[in-house]
């Protein structure tokens, strides 16, 4: 059930306990696990090899500071190297410094998410930068693709290039820029058809589009679930059109997203944005320091801490987190979490950022999309007595009926909540059994090397300070 990998990795890190300089054997052992972790995360093999070799060189013989264990020292070196390999801490924004209308070219394989991402970028530019955006679809391959972009443009509230049947991509691109100029648009986003990197004819076509439009950004859109083929895609697209940035889509899934590292290593282009859902708002800046832990199966610690400190009632969340960890999590705590969920996303979102809990997310399900359930759950819990909330097992048939009536729900719904809560507490208990101590210790090693702004170390302790 659990991501055994993170357990294994942290086990290896913990196992390194001798003081003094890191020995070759220590490092080799840790690197074997790091290699496997990265391959399981779909980092491309040649990229893994380079990475592991580099880290080996850097860590053998390095001094282990008094304040941390050798395991933490290696974990930190690995994490730092990974952040570096992903482009270094901090986000690289879109570069739109060109004469208006600024062309942005979207490219990628079939089904990678180009069209949705085009809509998302348009929305972001419109709302954050008050830009006038024109969306133009050059996809004459897939049925109804142009219509899809047009409908997205309507939803976002930006312009879309009128569809002219039979027109070819290069002509459409020219017409888009002309229209952009004539009608005073700031940015023109050119969405292209998905294509295989080995399809010479279509690669030539996208090259011609680029030559005709001279885009300020050429964004390669890549699915976070991509496997080893990421290298081929990155290489060929980069050779053909010169990638200026990468967008990783479907990062709301549970793939570990190793393709991000392959992309960066092969193209040298920064990963600029991540897609986090089907809604048009679900686009975020990419922060290497947040993805590093995910690739290693160690969780997005920095992201969790930051998000938590931004949105949560600190004391309350700290209390709940502690209870979660101790395995004593009751319905009052659940209700308290529900109240915070609106601000923070979802339980599974929070869990997804915790180490080793990618799989656990499935178990709880992503309730992000149905917040009405949360409101009902809150109603149900508030119809319970104090005792019932502390010891849910006492809730039998007659109590269920009373609670359902009191909360305007059904016994079935009460059952469902109890079942779900039961699942949750089982999982929580398992987490606490897994020995969170070790994990925390290691995390503090990672954290002290963490993101910008020198967030306080100490894992969850960091939640309430900033």
């Amino acid at each position: 059930m659990f991501d055994t990998l993170s357990g294994k990795l942290s086990g290896v890190f913990e196992g390194l306990s001798k003081r003094g300089r890191l020995s070759e054997a220590d490092v080799a052992e840790a690197m074997r696990e790091v290699r496997l972790a990265m391959l399981d995360a779909d980092v491309a093999l040649p990229v893994v090899r380079d990475f592991v070799n580099k880290v080996k060189e850097n860590s053998v013989g390095s001094e282990v500071l008094e304040s941390i264990s050798p395991g933490q020292a290696v974990a930190k070196i690995v994490n730092d190297a990974l952040i570096e390999a992903l482009g270094g801490a901090g986000n690289v924004p879109l570069n739109l410094a060109a004469a208006a209308p600024v062309p942005v070219l979207m490219v990628g394989l079939q089904g990678s998410g180009k069209t949705t991402t085009s809509g998302k970028i348009a929305l972001r530019l419109l709302t954050r930068e008050r830009k006038r955006v024109l969306l133009a679809s050059l996809d004459v391959q897939r049925p109804a693709a142009q219509l899809q972009l047009q409908q997205l443009a309507e939803r976002v509230g930006v312009g879309s290039l009128p569809i002219v049947a039979g027109q070819q991509p290069v002509e459409i691109a020219r017409r888009a820029l002309e229209t952009g100029r004539r009608e005073g648009y700031d940015v023109v986003i050119l969405d292209t058809a998905g294509r295989l990197s080995i399809d010479e004819a279509l690669m030539q076509e996208v090259r011609e589009v680029r030559d005709a439009t001279n885009p300020a950004e050429t964004l390669l859109v890549v699915d976070a679930m991509t496997g080893q083929d990421a290298v081929n895609t990155a290489q060929r697209f980069n050779e053909a059109v010169g990638i200026t940035g990468v967008v990783m889509t479907r990062m709301d899934g549970d793939a570990r997203g190793g393709a991000a590292l392959s992309m960066r290593a092969i193209t040298g282009a920064p990963i600029k944005l991540v897609g986090l859902g089907e809604k048009l708002e679900a686009l975020d800046d990419f922060y290497p320091e947040r993805v590093a832990g995910r690739i290693l199966g160690l969780g997005d610690i920095a992201g969790l801490v930051e998000k938590a400190s931004e949105t949560l009632d600190h004391e309350e969340s700290e209390r709940v987190a502690k209870k979660m960890m101790s395995g004593k999590f009751d319905l009052d705590d659940y209700a308290s979490q529900l109240r915070q969920i609106g601000k923070m996303g979802s339980i599974s979102g929070i869990l997804g950022m915790l180490p080793g809990m990618g799989k656990l997310k499935d178990k709880l399900g992503d309730q992000e999309l149905d917040t009405t359930i949360f409101k009902r759950h809150q109603a149900i819990i508030s119809s319970m007595t104090k005792n019932e909330r502390k010891t849910p097992s006492i809730i039998k048939a007659s109590r269920k009926k009373r609670i359902a009536a009191g909360s305007g729900t059904t016994v079935q719904e009460v059952n469902k909540l109890l079942k779900q809560f039961d699942d949750m507490s089982t999982v929580m208990k398992r987490i606490s059994k897994m020995g969170l101590g070790g994990m925390k210790q290691m995390l503090s090693g990672l954290m002290s090397g963490g993101g910008p702004g020198g967030r306080p170390g100490g894992g969850f302790g960091g939640m309430n300070r900033r």
Binding site: G111, Q141, Q151, S197, G227, R250, D366
Partner: protein, 327 residues
């Protein structure tokens, strides 16, 4: 288009060429096996399964001198051995009218396109086909399926955007039954398997369909993109658990991805793989063949690798080593 089949052919021609000049050998030691294992990992088999395939290979060929095509053939055989049990054709069950096929998968894998291709396949066999535009969520998803309907001469049952997919599926079975249609494809919106609410929606589609025909759906096909890496394991695990997937379809094998994850899937889940997608056009659909797939997988790269291994080594050195090797 250079792709799966031409690659396959390439691999084979190259190996037959080699057969004529099969003079160079490589001594198969641990280093060589490691290189082969890496090659399998680079084809998305994943470290665990790649290791297991190589173990099988090691037991029969370790410490021997081998030729390129021996390596290639043996590796392909090892992989085909894993794939054979899951190479099960998709069969229409004529006792159901309609045979209801629910098509599911994560976003962008090729569900709608595959339905179009399958519709054509069965239309060509003289079967009547209908489709339900169950993706009421994504922009222009209905229109996309309608184009496939026109291309294949299959009526499309569609509702309002944002409408209830389950109700539409119910309506679809009813209409197909009335018309005496052989096959009904139900397209669904792409969804990530870790979104509980969206997965529940699929379960609901099934529940509602069963109100009309309690044996429906007769097939639940999970479409997988060959470029997907290890996450495909989770996709299959969760979709199978929640909606009883009966078979897999692997798309985009015309690309540079070698689809090795299918080997890991076959090893772990033993779910039938019915068909593969090899392009965007209506005719780009093939039955899944364990042998062809295995050869395609080791074809180009495996062939290259085998060549590299053999040509890069010094046959004399191999001979010498051989003398001192065990066995």
């Amino acid at each position: 288009m250079a792709g799966f089949f031409s690659r396959l052919k390439q691999g084979l021609t190259r190996s037959t060429q080699k057969l004529n000049a099969a003079l160079t050998h490589r001594y198969l030691d641990e280093t060589a096996l490691e290189e082969l294992e890496d090659e399998l990992i680079a084809a998305d088999l994943g470290p665990a399964v790649a290791g297991r395939v190589i173990d099988g290979f090691r037991s029969s060929r370790f410490g021997r001198n081998v030729t390129t095509e021996e390596i290639q053939e043996a590796l392909a055989a090892e992989i085909a051995h894993v794939l054979s049990p899951v190479a099960v054709p998709f069969e229409l069950k004529p006792e159901h009218k309609p045979h209801v096929v629910l098509v599911v998968g994560v976003n962008g894998v090729g569900k709608t396109t595959t339905i179009g291709k399958m519709a054509k396949w069965f239309r060509d066999q003289g079967r009547s086909v209908m489709m339900v535009a169950g993706d009421t969520f994504r922009a222009a998803a209905v229109e996309q399926l309608q184009v496939w309907g026109e291309r294949t001469g299959a009526p499309v049952i569609a509702g309002k955007p944002g409408g209830d997919a389950a109700g539409l599926a119910f309506e679809g079975i009813k209409r197909a039954r009335e018309a005496g249609t052989d096959l009904l494809f139900v397209d669904t919106a792409g969804r990530l398997h870790n979104k509980g609410a969206l997965m529940e929606e699929l379960a609901k589609i099934i529940r509602v369909m069963r109100k009309f025909d309690e044996t429906a759906p007769h097939s639940v096909l999970l479409v997988l993109d060959a470029t997907t890496g290890q996450n495909a394991m989770e996709q299959v695990r969760v979709f199978r658990e929640l909606v009883n997937v009966t078979g897999l379809i692997v798309t985009k094998l015309d690309g540079s991805a070698r689809g090795g994850i299918v080997v890991a899937l076959a090893d772990a889940f033993k779910l039938p793989v019915h068909l593969v997608g090899v392009g965007e056009q209506v005719e780009d659909l093939r039955p899944f063949s364990a042998q062809d797939y295995a050869r395609g997988l080791v074809g180009q790269s495996g062939g290259d690798l085998a060549n590299r291994l053999v040509e890069g080594s010094d046959p004399e050195a191999g001979q010498e080593e051989r003398g001192s090797a065990p066995g």
